[in-house]
């Protein structure tokens, strides 16, 4: 469980999107109103005693935050008192301004939309962490390989994109090797390295908010099924 104010601020910056998505899905709020409510929720949490009342025995932080959000929204509706805070969290404003805020998928339950957005934030954060780690290590070539394999389609000279479209196929090691003028063995090695570190970084990100090793394992299981 996060215990310091600095870490709490960091978690807010990292996991505001699931809150925003939940508000849009549960309350059918338009974009700007959902943003204001997201601001109001986190300001309420950071100014109040929510975080000081966090206890490992209360269970999963992700679920606990969701429950707090649900209660907050019920109160907000009851008292019709939610306004954009007078002193909004500046970093949150900037993040919301820059983010690609697509509405939740139609028909998706708010709870599921929240969890899905949470895991996506985790994956995005882990990929960012991988980028930073490989930058520090002087191995941005590794990120290029990972990026082509996982993040972006490859365009062949005849315009064929192995990784695009509804029936997209995963680029092969050979696709990546040809694009980057590497051998397939090099691509395999680079990807193994990236995979090991991406898993490590993902676990570290979860550990920032998880109370126990079991909870880390459980979160990992939910994301990658093992």
């Amino acid at each position: 469980m996060p215990q310091t104010r600095g870490l709490l601020d960091q978690l807010v910056r990292r996991y505001w999107k699931p809150v925003y998505i939940y508000i849009r899905a549960a309350w059918r709020k338009p974009n700007e109103e959902a943003k204001d409510l997201t601001q109001a929720f986190f300001t309420h949490l950071l100014e109040g005693t929510f975080f000081s009342r966090l206890k490992p025995e209360k269970g999963n932080f992700r679920a606990y935050l969701k429950k707090a959000l649900r209660n907050f929204l019920i109160d907000a509706e009851r008292f019709d008192k939610v306004r954009r805070p007078e002193k909004p969290i500046v970093s949150l404003d900037i993040a919301m301004d820059q983010a690609d805020l697509a509405p939740p998928a139609p028909g998706e339950a708010p709870e599921a939309a929240y969890d899905r957005a949470w895991f996506r934030c985790l994956l995005d954060g882990a990929v960012d962490g991988l980028w930073q780690f490989l930058s520090l290590e002087g191995r941005l070539k590794y990120f290029e390989v990972f990026s082509l394999y996982c993040l972006h389609p490859i365009t062949s000279p005849d315009g064929f994109r192995p990784g695009s479209g509804e029936t997209a196929t995963q680029p092969t090691y050979r696709d990546v090797a040809q694009t980057l003028s590497l051998t397939e063995a090099e691509v395999r090695h680079y990807l193994e390295f990236c995979r090991a570190h991406l898993r490590r970084i993902l676990s570290e990100r979860i550990r920032e908010y998880a109370a126990t090793d079991d909870e880390v394992k459980e979160e990992l299981k939910q994301i990658i099924g093992e």
């Binding site: 994956l123 990929v127 002087g138 590794y142 290029e144 993040l151 997209a168 193994e192 995979r195 490590r200």
Partner: protein, 305 residues
């Protein structure tokens, strides 16, 4: 590729046979303030990925320098080669808008480890990144700085060198307002004979200034036009006071660079000069052949009344 596909791909990538991490070279802790050879360290001014930069006094020549010391992965010969290449490239450059290199070398520290360093001009001032965040700094001032940068990059291009890591953090602005390009950690001669150290990178940063050909890893397609893209991003920031490709993650930013045209700066800010906007959007053409071919053309267009 949709978001759904991307996340699915990352998730299945994580599931597959996990490989063991490859051990990395031992790190060398940044030197305590003291001396490195004949340089007396005064204070740390920046810490990048692989190196730390100190304000230092050159006791032999009685001048102040910026001393860049390789710290991270110092035992890695590729890092050393990169630093030496940076020194080799930078030391043959003489231009008022490019940071000058005085000396490069290696010395043993107290623990007997070899410390590699480059001594450069110490520029008293701020970075362009700092100035861009200040709403009180006038657009004309920022354009003047970009003009200096474009001149410096034109000088590089004329010598067959591509910087490849142009961004406001790598542009120093001295007390007189002169823009000075620093950090040749990624620079590479445009000729194909130069040894490839691709992938070596020292500054922890974002991909905001990367051209599409860099994002897609098409290293063979990198050329002067790649620097033009970065100049275009900086011009965009000056005109619109925001980045053309925002996002909250590396993947999101990269996707936008590859797929979305930037909104015209005039749609985000008032009184944008149409000629500069046209230059900016041309520099941000996804097709490199549509960009100004090198920085001298970009600089000329920037100056045109």
């Amino acid at each position: 590729m949709s978001d759904e596909q991307r996340y699915n791909r990352i998730q299945s990538f994580l599931v597959r046979a996990p490989g063991e991490p490859v051990p990395k070279a031992p790190d060398l802790p940044p030197p305590e303030l003291g001396t490195v050879g004949h340089y007396r360290l005064i204070r740390q001014v920046a810490r990048g990925g692989a190196a730390t930069v100190f304000e230092a006094q050159d006791t032999r020549h009685g001048r102040k320098v910026a001393l860049k010391v390789l710290t991270f992965g110092a035992g890695n010969p590729l890092h050393v080669a990169r630093l030496q290449r940076e020194a080799a490239i930078a030391s043959r450059l003489r231009h008022p808008n490019i940071v000058g290199v005085h000396d490069t070398g290696m010395v043993a520290n107290a623990e007997g480890q070899t410390v590699h360093y480059i001594a450069m001009d110490f520029v008293e001032g701020r970075s362009l990144a700092y100035l861009l965040k200040d709403p009180l700094v006038k657009t004309t001032t920022l354009l003047g700085i970009l003009n200096d940068v474009a001149d410096a990059v034109a000088y590089l291009h004329a010598r067959g060198i591509v910087h490849r890591d142009l961004k406001p953090g790598n542009v120093l602005v001295d007390a007189s307002g002169r823009g000075i390009v620093a950090d040749f950690g990624l620079a590479r001669s445009a000729d194909r004979g130069s040894p490839s150290l691709t992938g070596l990178h020292e500054v922890l940063g974002t991909p905001q200034y990367m051209a599409p050909e860099q994002v897609e890893g098409r290293t063979k397609d990198i050329g002067p036009w790649t620097d033009i893209w970065s100049l275009g991003v900086m011009l965009y920031q000056i005109l619109a006071r925001r980045l053309p490709f925002g996002g909250t993650s590396v993947a999101e930013i990269q996707t936008r660079i590859l797929t979305e045209p930037p909104p015209p700066p005039s749609s985000l800010a008032a009184a944008v000069n149409p000629r500069l906007e046209a230059l900016c959007l041309r520099a941000l053409s996804r097709d490199p052949s549509r960009r100004p071919p090198d920085a001298s053309v970009f600089a000329d267009d920037l100056r045109r009344p």
